[in-house]
Structure formats: C-alpha cells, structure tokens
Symmetry: C2
Subunit: 228 residues, 2 copies
C-alpha cells in the first residue's frame, strides 16, 4: 500500500519524516520498502499565522494536496505538520482515504509508554498552542499540559522554529528550545512533546533532563502500520 | 516550477537528495522553497542486476514513474540513482518534460572545478561500471577513469551499497569504501566520484586522502537551477 505524504510544511520536516518512515520499515533491499508519494507544496499559507488570526486559511491548499496524493494511489495520508492538524477535519471529507492524526497517535503513545506522567510540556507553534490541539486531546486522556509563557513562546520557541525553516539547525535555536523546556520542567512537566515537526530536528531523546516524545517518529510508525 | 523526484532507488538516497535540494535552495521561510513531488516506487527492479544480465529491465517502471510525476505538474524530473541513468534514454521520449542527467552534470562539474585532474576514480554499482556510464562521458571530456578490480568491486563496493540499502550507515561499510578508494588512489586517481547515490551517505568530502565529488549534490543544484 502506498503512503502519501502531505508535506512541505516545512520541507526539512518532510525529509525528517520520510527518513523516519524508512527507519520504521523493516527492509533489507530497496524492494522491501513501501511505495511513497510526496506532495510538498510550499505555497500552503502559514498554518500558525492562520490560527492566530494573522493569515489566510490553508485548508484549500491542503485539500488540493490530499486530492493529488489520492489520485496517485496513496492508500493512507500522513501530514508531517502538527499545526496543519487544526485544519484536517475539513480536509478529510474531500478524500476517500484515511488521513492519519499525529496528535491522536502521540497522545495514545504517551498513554501507553508514559502512563505515570501527570503533566506534559508542549513545545509547538503559537498556532498549535492557541488552537489547543494537544491540550484538548491530552486532557481527554487524563493528562495536564503546560506551555511556555507568551514571551518565551515568541522569543524562544517560535523563533527557533523559524530558524529551522530557514535551514539553521545550529546550536543557537537548540539552546532556545532548551531554555523553554527548562521553563516547562519548572512548571511540573515530566515529559516533553516536540509538537512542531521542526523541533525534533534540534533535539535528541532528552532535553532539560526530561524525555522528549517525537510525534514525527510516532506518525511514521503509524503510517508503516497502516500501510503494511 | 515543480521538481519531480523519480525516487526510491533506494529510499535513503531519495531522502538524501531531497535534503540536498533544500540545502541548495535559498530560502528563509517554507514559502520560499520549491514545490516538490516524489514518486518512490520500491518495486522498480534492481538496476544493477539488469545491467549485469541478472534481472528484468526496469524501464517500464521508470516510464510509469515519470508519467506520474509529469501528471502531477513536475516541470523537470531528477532521478537520484546513477545506475538508473543507463535506462533514461528510453524513458525520456515518453514524457514532455526534461529529465536531468546526473552523469552529464557531474562530468561538467569535474571539468569546471577539477580541470587539473587526469584520472578519476569511480565508486559505483557493478551495473554502472559495466555499462560504462561514467567512463564514456568522462573519456569524451578528456578524463581517464579507474575502477576497482572485480573482487574489490564485489566484496567492498557492492557489499557496502547493499548494506546502506538495508539501512546500515555504520563504520563497516564506510571502511570498505575507504579500502576500495585506496586502491583507486594507487591506480592514479586524484578525484573520487561517489557514483552510486548510497555512497555519499557513507563519505565526507575526502576519502583515502582524495577529494570526493557527490553527484547527488550536483544533481540537486542542477534541479534548483532548472526550476528557478
């Protein structure tokens, strides 16, 4: 079964997801891998700007991409952009194939792998935070979510994400994320969700002494399960 | 203009190419990047096996992929698999969009950047070596090519490529390539061509004290030039 990747949000995050998809596939030869089609449309308007009331609605672009992937034979669609998930409920009715939900998959993984955690720290775009994407799903599963204060969000998290989108994977944006993570640890977080696909590009498995959960990798495993 | 990637040969090499495409694109935001569509069909029969008389002709699969990319709006197609280039002359007539030639682009780059070199060492699949893909183009440009002896080709180069295709980017396959590179240096090579897209995944900018030219990166720059 072919996996469709609705990508380009951003491009490096799409590459990271594709790489994690390959890592999640047991394969000894090229021919053991899963067929993949990628639609990476960089003209999709900024998802976070739309959610914070500062830009156009990206839904029509997402629908167009999902259509293209379906026409190419994708049997399941993965969207490696957390913020785009705020719009997916309006995209799903326009295609016949399932679109995976990385927020649901991530919360399911937290419930399975970290049931002892009470408070989760969320590192994400301002749009994802404002829309409550993770907070609502985590609350329904019995978890409390803490987020950075608005200044830390803007000056550290949003700025680091912007740097990655411009190709900077250096130490400075990684330090900003570490700074924000330290604040979440002080607020009681015992687990961090790298809830923007640019953030795992800056982090390892731990940050500010907390374990980091990578929704990109979670989505990749879910896509491989769905396609096999 | 949209770049079409005829990929999956192998999947990790496709990811590497996509990453190098992004690196070659001047961009500060998601929206500055080029639209990309990827068709990664792992069922394409082994290209090297076909060229050494041990497997089916992959041309129909390549034509199918090129058609799909054209239908998706690709204005130029890049094929990040050196060995597949042996079949591209039979694929090109089936699409109206140009298909870039990574062998030609690489030899052009050698002529520009390394005009002082007389002998080039080729690290590639047995299929690429047997078909003379690089040797013929390099000879036409005035360069001599040296290749590993058949045992080194099989036990070091081919085996290392196979390991990468199985996801092993560890020290052992890298050492095998270094071993083969040492042989090419002893045969007079003053520059190495990492002429199989799996090989740059194992090497840096130098190997066995020789500079390494990476056709994947060359193809990425050519694709960005063609699309802008």
């Amino acid at each position: 079964m072919t996996i469709g990747i609705l990508g380009g949000m951003g491009p490096l995050a799409t590459v990271d997801f594709y790489r994690k998809l390959i890592d999640a596939t047991p394969a000894a030869h090229d021919q053991d891998h899963l067929p993949v089609v990628v639609w990476a449309d960089p003209t999709v308007p900024d998802r976070s700007a739309a959610l914070t009331g500062c830009g156009p609605d990206p839904t029509p672009w997402l629908i167009r991409g999902a259509h293209r992937l379906e026409a190419l034979g994708a049997a399941v669609i993965a969207t490696p952009c957390n913020t785009a998930h705020a719009f997916l409920d309006r995209v799903r009715p326009s295609v016949r194939v399932p679109m995976l939900d990385m927020i649901d998959e991530t919360v399911r993984e937290i419930r399975t792998r970290h049931p002892e955690v009470e408070t989760v720290g969320l590192l994400a775009t301002a749009g994802t935070v404002t829309a409550g994407l993770y907070q609502d799903t985590l609350a329904a599963a019995g978890f409390k979510t803490v987020t950075p204060d608005p200044v830390t969000q803007e000056d550290y998290v949003t700025r680091a994400i912007r740097r990655v989108k411009a190709g900077d994977l250096g130490g400075e944006p990684a330090r900003w994320i570490e700074e924000a993570a330290g604040q979440l640890a002080a607020l009681g977080a015992r687990l961090l969700v790298a809830g923007c696909t640019e953030i795992p590009l800056l982090l390892g498995e731990m940050c500010a002494c907390l374990p980091v959960l990578d929704p990109t990798a979670t989505l990749a495993r879910a896509a491989v399960r769905a396609a096999r």
